[in-house]
């Protein structure tokens, strides 16, 4: 009796849960099927299964439609920007969390105020500045902008974590004669690994998906990152739905592949700023 009643009361819950799962997962599966079908097949039956599966579309997108270039541009920009923002951010966060010095609070306020700056407030001026210093329409310029605009979040997360490391460890390290830099490298970094991992994940996903700065600061086709490349391709091949879907999968797959192995880390990383 008890059992039956509970099942009945839970029915709406289960129904809703199933429905929402279909709504979130369904569209992604749809893109996945379309990426393996030709446009003619899709227009004949938009919701059919990919039979036969046209795996060669990925090779075609990669070589003929320039997706290979877009992919490598994205990879270069994101890897370098994430590496720099992590190192610069960790150094600054360690310094802010560990040392009492005059101006500590000013520096902290300055950097953390970057958390509320809308990209629109800087993008027009960045366009001018990069033009001035001849870095407009270069990957280097985009990397610098990415590092600068993601320092705030990185320092915010890392400093919060670093500040919780017990001071005793640092006193002991100092007693043992460690230099300041050794303390950073041998104490803070190893202990702070989880937080560093979090910021790396967060920055990687955000930058891999970044669109606004890229669209303002890049124009050449051979410099486009993946989001820009896909937009460009969609604009010029609006009706070639099959090929656009293949392009979307090329952008999605790296993220899904990492997500499959590190789902907990990625969830933690993406929400790190909001969960307290």
């Amino acid at each position: 009796m008890q059992w039956g009643l509970q099942q009945v009361r839970r029915a709406p819950l289960v129904l809703f849960v199933v429905l929402y799962t279909v709504v979130t997962g369904g569209p992604l599966l749809w893109v996945a099927t379309m990426s393996l079908r030709t446009t003619a097949e899709i227009f004949k039956d938009p919701y059919g299964l990919p039979m036969p599966a046209h795996w060669e579309k990925f090779a075609e997108a990669w070589t003929k439609s320039n997706y290979g270039t877009y992919f490598w541009n994205s990879a270069i920009v994101v890897v370098i920007a994430v590496a720099l923002v992590t190192v610069f951010g960790a150094l600054a966060a360690h310094c802010l969390a560990r040392y009492n010095f005059r101006g500590n609070r000013v520096v902290r306020f300055l950097i953390l105020s970057g958390l509320v700056l809308p990209p629109q407030l800087v993008m027009l001026a960045l366009f001018q500045i990069l033009l001035d210093i001849n870095l407009y329409n270069t990957l280097t310029g985009l990397i610098l902008v990415y590092v600068a605009t993601h320092i705030a979040m990185t320092v915010y997360i890392l400093e919060g974590f670093f500040a919780q490391i017990p001071q005793d460890l640092f006193d002991a390290a100092r007693m043992d004669g460690y230099s300041d830099f050794e303390i950073f490298w041998r104490v803070t970094m190893p202990i702070g690994k989880p937080a560093i991992f979090t910021t790396v994940t967060l920055n990687f996903i955000i930058l891999w998906n970044e669109f606004l700065f890229a669209v303002v600061l890049l124009t050449d086709d051979d410099k486009r990152t993946l989001p820009l490349g896909i937009m460009h391709f969609t604009g010029s091949h609006q009706l070639d739905v099959g090929m656009v879907a293949t392009g979307l999968m090329i952008a999605i797959l790296p993220i899904i592949a990492i997500y499959a192995f590190f789902s907990e880390t990625m969830i933690k990383g993406m929400t790190a700023g909001a969960v307290r």
Partner: protein, 316 residues
Amino acid sequence: MSVPGWLSRFAGRGQARPEIDARSAGIAVLVVFLAPALLVYAGFTIYPVLRTFYNAFHAIKPQGVVEFVGLSNFATLLLADPIFWKAVANTSVFTIVATIVDVVGGLLLALCLFARAPLAPLLRVVWFTPVLMSYVVVGILWVWIFDYDWGLANAALRWLGLGAFEQSWLGHPSTALWSVLVAHEWKWLGFNMIVFLAALHALPSEVLGAAELDNCGWFAKLVYIIAPMLRGTIVNLLVLSFIGKMMVFDLIWIMTGGGPLWSTETVSTYVYKRAFEWNTFDLGYPSAIAVLWFVIILVFIAIMTRLLRQRERLEF
């Protein structure tokens, strides 16, 4: 050979000064730690912000022509630019609705999983997936879903026997903004869900258990016990959502470009258009829009945090 104290501390171990104070550091050490971050940040964030404020009071034309115009950009903006006001109206509707949906929807989804729905750990991972997708992917995908002829939205309506409601969702001024909003929420609900779920799991189970013993209904439990205890998280997410929605650009740009008939034009898309698409060739005017909007965002954040901040912290 005597090495200055600060240098020896930085150079290597063994030469440290006699007193041990791990909290202090010489100026050179501080510079090495802070300079990389501060230099990049100053050059590519602080300076651009200042330059945008400077731009807002000037007309910036090509070939380096800069002309001081005082407050005239702001005057035009506020008094003689109907498209700006249309954009403000759209952004406001979008922000208010999307922020509420974000917080309420995220909480309800989190409660579903918290109520031990079957397969909860797996569903949590699936529901979060859209958060990881780029706006370009989400935008193009939803343009297809809303496609008149073969999109999922109309196909689902036909399948349900509601063919009469078929629409060109993104092509009609009365539905376009709402359609983009649906796509936006599809991407972001999972984020709010995860944050709420983490907060729910951090709640003291004794309180929830006590409510159950008192035979408290689930709705009463939600309104009188769970929501008050989650107040901090709710405020956080409200502010976070609010900031994100006030600046919404990518998805709108990708799905509608602000059209049809400015029905989805937001402040951010308008800034972009005035700067790079209109042949007014003036960076000053869009900068003025960006500055004004930033100030408005700051004012609202201040009001929200003041109004919603917990007067006395709940003890539990």
